[in-house]
Symmetry: C2
Subunit: 326 residues, 2 copies
């Protein structure tokens, strides 16, 4: 029997989840749920589009609901709401608010006897797992996380809000010297500026004051002021030709020692992703499988990637995993 | 209350486990158990040495027994035997025999209500986990495992058995061009010879026939014949000065696609270890913590790293993990 999956939200991430469900042999896509008029939403795979309000009447038709919303306002409301009806999974990534979000989802999911896996994807997600495995094996070491080279949608949006800007793409780029220093095992202290640079491609209106826009970008607090930032003004055609993908990636590098510091060990996990939303969607779908199985086994409440035994992510049997992957 | 750990076997791996227990704040080392006369075994940490026969009388004194024996003859007998008395963990790595070993440990552990985690370390172990996570997230991709640069004890031993050889150290070295091809995402087909080379350092008896020894090494079936092998004859002093460590490491590189092959994603996990037995011992100790906790929660039977939720490896609370590692 296939796992019946619903997708709530049909932006880049929702489309990534749709593609991943499409290649999961043990899953069926029940439909995509949207706040827009479903008549105006064309679903790539041909699955049915529903208005989000239809969800409440479909409690028996969906085994796991994958919630693809923004962490700022959507997920804090949606994930607890739907955890009261379905096994759910989200990619909540506002770090400071994870404890509150976890509690809210936990309460709703426990009351309903459902599983809610939060903060799933690659960071938080696969990167978090690697930080946990490394520090569990080698306590007392140091974890360094580098992001990029890749497009930061939050930073791109921040530039787009500047007057005179038509479009923008911001790449986060790790500093090679910082990566080398960390990989050497020397445990360097690195400032924000020493770890990453920010490279921006900006399309402006005709006659816009480029010098002023550049100044506004590089001095923007929180987003750019603490980084070495490069601004490149390009045409709309160049933007479309050279920057329409959403690549990303990065590395978690952990250095720890044994034998009273005499022996150093370097653990590195890195991702090089052609499409950030498609990879994130693929992670969500693997954890959707786990959410369903944990619930079938009688478990309920909020979970993170830390709580999920890896075997639950795979459609393979225990025997197959031990024979081919161990 | 601390987890009470016993170590069975006191070679390089047992000493690595001892060091890792020493830095685990939630564990106490009850003692080291050996087939030798314990009066002649000096334990680095000052823990007590016991004869292995003492184990049967200490069922209530040990929460987890870490079994540090060889996969060829020790572990197939020891792990099921002691799984009938204790929660146990081993590093069994004879791949073809894992199904039988798993079944034997499972039967013994279930009958005793204990947990037995088998095949723990870095390969099998952390590398296996990365193969499983990657293929679960991106089904249909290709996993490439490279080992080294590092000392292979099995290959070093094989050289030592040749007549006229006094000592030998064999390094397994991944071929840089193969690594580059895999990292590019091009999914190359690679033969054994294309993936790794073998570099040997050999000390011979005075007057030994070096040409004959070299020929015996490079043509040795299973061990060397399928590889490009380099043999360097060195003095006993050079061996001691330059090759007394046991470094190792390697990479699991997984390439998979989304969107019908349009987007490629590369996942790489790599280890660079100053001491293979100390790192392996550290992994065993983290999983010893998990074995104890799974058993406390009422679970029993044989497990592998695939069955262990990552949170069980860490002494941190769920709140701490979510705040600092997620």
């Amino acid at each position: 029997m296939s796992i019946r999956v619903g997708i709530l939200g049909y932006g880049n991430l929702g489309k990534g989840v749709e593609k991943a469900v499409g290649v999961a042999e043990d899953m069926d896509l029940v439909g995509v749920f949207t706040r827009r008029d479903p008549a105006n939403v064309s679903i790539d795979s041909g699955a049915k589009a529903y208005h989000v309000d239809a969800l409440e009447g479909m409690k028996d038709d969906i085994d796991v609901l994958v919630i693809c919303g923004g962490s700022a306002t959507d997920l804090p409301e949606m994930t607890p709401k739907y955890a009261a009806m379905f096994n759910v999974i989200d990619s909540f990534d506002t770090h400071a608010n994870i404890p509150v979000h976890f509690t809210n989802v936990d309460n709703a999911a426990k009351a309903a006897g459902k599983i809610g896996i939060i903060s799933c994807g690659w960071d938080p997600g696969m990167f978090s797992l690697n930080r946990l495995y490394a520090t569990s094996v080698l306590p007392g070491g140091e974890a360094y996380t580098f992001w990029g080279k890749g497009v930061s949608q939050g930073h791109s949006d921040a530039i787009r809000r500047i007057e005179g800007v038509v479009d923008a793409r911001q790449y986060t780029v790790p500093v090679p010297e910082a990566l080398d220093a960390v990989r050497s095992g020397s445990n360097p202290e690195l400032t924000t500026r020493q770890k990453h640079t920010r490279v921006c491609y900006v399309v402006v209106e005709d006659g816009a004051d480029k010098a002023k826009i550049e100044q506004e970008i590089v001095t923007m607090p929180n987003y750019f002021a603490d980084y070495d930032t490069t601004v490149n003004f390009i045409s709309a055609e160049e933007m479309k030709r050279d920057h329409s993908g959403l690549p990303h990636g990065g590395s978690v590098i952990y250095t720890g020692t044994t034998a009273d510091g005499q022996n150093t060990h370097v653990i590195e996990y890195s991702l090089k992703l052609d499409s950030n939303p498609e990879f994130t969607g693929s992670v969500l779908v693997a954890y959707a499988r786990a959410a369903y199985r944990m619930n079938q086994a009688g478990d309920a409440g909020a979970k993170t990637v830390f709580d999920v035994a890896p075997a639950l992510l795979s459609p393979l049997s225990g025997e197959e995993m031990r024979a081919h992957l161990l």
